[in-house]
Amino acid sequence: MDYPATYKYTKEHEWIELNGKEGKIGITDYAQNSLGDIVFVDLPKVGSSVEKGKVFGSVESVKAVSDLYSPVSGTVTAVNEELTSSPEKINTAAHTAWIMKVEVANAADASDLLSKDAYETYIKEETH
């Protein structure tokens, strides 16, 4: 699958699409492939705070629970309720099945995130 050039990525395999102060966050195709069939998503509460590098929720496959780490600090403005009944959407379209939207507190948070090229290099190394 294509890794959108407009997204930024983390080493924990989250992606973030930034539009000014709004960040849309999900997990990468690499992550969904490693997890296998996703059966459950634990979404954060709208209005709660998230902190860069800290756990904000989790995604579960049949076999395992995987924590989700926020790429930025801020406030949760929306969560993708569709994932409650159809978590498998993350498997079929990881880069459009967003998990939460965040109002970013500090734009500088995004500066150390990986570009598409850096992320693709990173995952290539991970599989060797």
Binding site: G36, D37, V39, F40, D42, S58, E60, S61, V62, K63, V65, T84
Partner: protein, 379 residues
């Protein structure tokens, strides 16, 4: 994550084959095994609705042979092997003197002088050492570890018999559940064909020579024969969800050296009246004391959440009353289920309890097991 180099994982003869098929591999009890190929849910559903094939060569095989082999089996195995006919197998367990589990086992009577015990992969060496020690000095019998001699394939599902019919001329309708025979399979003479399995479906396990060329050839012939029925190669992920739906025990979870036979709910397989065996006195004492203080039960989540191994089970008041032994989504039943050992007062079906998931109590209810039972075929 540890930076020390891991001890080399053991491999079955089909390791290259699994990798070639693109399997995700995992360390299972020191073995490099496939956890899934095309996807856990697809593999699980294939076994429930069509047919799947598993490489279970990592399991162990102990043979007790000689004129005194029955007495030896009776000493170490809790079920009554004297009731077995030639060609018949049964579920049993090897116990410590305190009535807890060394391992569970399928005992096959090959002949009056020959018994095959199929044991778990993770406990292979422990079991062999324990069997040798427990039978040391016994005349008229000897213990052989044949674990590395066999590649063992499990072909499981409602269409398993259709696949097998293409691979052998043996009369498969003559082999009932938990019986076995010897026949020519894929050109291999005298292959053990057992109607056993760990999925809750009809199925067969075949034991073939463990050299790589033979193993690969037979595996490929099974997949080829199964193509028209929708066969899938299946990994340990699906193996676990299938056995969980059928409420079958896994060592280290439902049974262990800290759980006794009554607590595991397996007392119907312990034939205390057959005579002495290792662990019998301890089980008799539990019975005399009025039974166990806790028992394995099935749980079904009633609120949104997945109970997993090791999660705390709570009373409605929030007190911890047990631990999840095995817990997972059930792909066929489309529910989240679990097995746990709970105090007797919480074991009646319908009892409401909760499971602690990420520090929150999530409601569940005690249910009867097995969670899934296959339809019996019409005669």
């Amino acid at each position: 994550m540890s930076t020390a180099a891991p001890a080399a994982l053991r491999k079955t003869a089909l390791n290259d084959t699994h990798r070639r098929l693109g399997a995700k591999m995992v360390d299972f009890g020191g073995w490099d095994m496939p956890v899934e190929y095309s996807g856990l849910i697809a593999e699980h559903m294939a076994v429930r609705t069509a047919v799947g094939v598993f490489d279970v060569s990592h399991m162990g095989d102990i043979q007790l042979r000689g004129p005194n082999s029955l007495a030896a089996v009776q000493h170490i195995s809790m079920n009554d092997a004297s009731k077995l006919k030639e060609g018949q197998a049964h579920y049993s367990a090897l116990l410590y003197a305190n009535g807890t589990f060394v391992d569970d086992v399928i005992v096959h009577k090959l002949s009056d002088n020959d018994y095959l015990l199929v044991i778990n992969a993770g406990t292979r060496e422990k079991d062999v050492n324990w069997v040798r020690k427990s039978l040391a000095g016994r005349p008229g019998m000897h213990v052989s570890d044949y674990s590395d001699y066999y590649t063992q394939l499990a072909i499981q599902g409602p269409k398993a018999v259709d696949v097998m019919r293409k691979l052998t001329d043996s009369n498969l309708d003559g082999i009932k559940n938990y019986w076995f025979t010897w026949g020519k399979v894929c050109g291999l003479h005298n292959t053990l064909i057992a109607r056993t399995g760990y999925t809750g479906e009809d199925g067969f396990e075949i034991y073939i020579p463990s050299d790589v060329p033979t193993s690969e050839r037979v595996w490929n012939e099974v997949l080829e024969a199964g193509k028209e029925f929708g066969i899938l190669p299946c990994g340990l992920g699906a193996r676990n969800t299938l056995r969980l739906e059928s409420a079958m025990a896994l060592y280290g979870h439902e049974i262990s050296d800290e759980i006794n036979v009554f607590e595991a709910g397996l007392d119907r397989y312990a034939k205390l009246e057959k005579g002495d065996f290792i662990g019998r006195d301890a089980l008799e004492a539990v019975r005399a004391a009025g039974g166990p203080k806790r028992k394995l039960v099935g749980l079904e989540m009633t609120e949104r959440g997945i109970a997993r191994d090791g999660y705390a089970v709570l009373s409605p008041e929030g007190k911890k009353i047990g631990t999840v032994a095995s817990g997972s989504p059930a792909p066929f039943l489309k529910k989240n289920i679990a097995l746990a050992h709970l105090p007797m007062e919480f074991t009646a079906p319908g009892t409401e309890i909760a499971v602690e998931i990420r520090n929150q109590p999530v409601k569940a209810v005690v249910v009867t097991t097995p969670f899934y039972k296959r339809q019996k075929k019409q005669a």
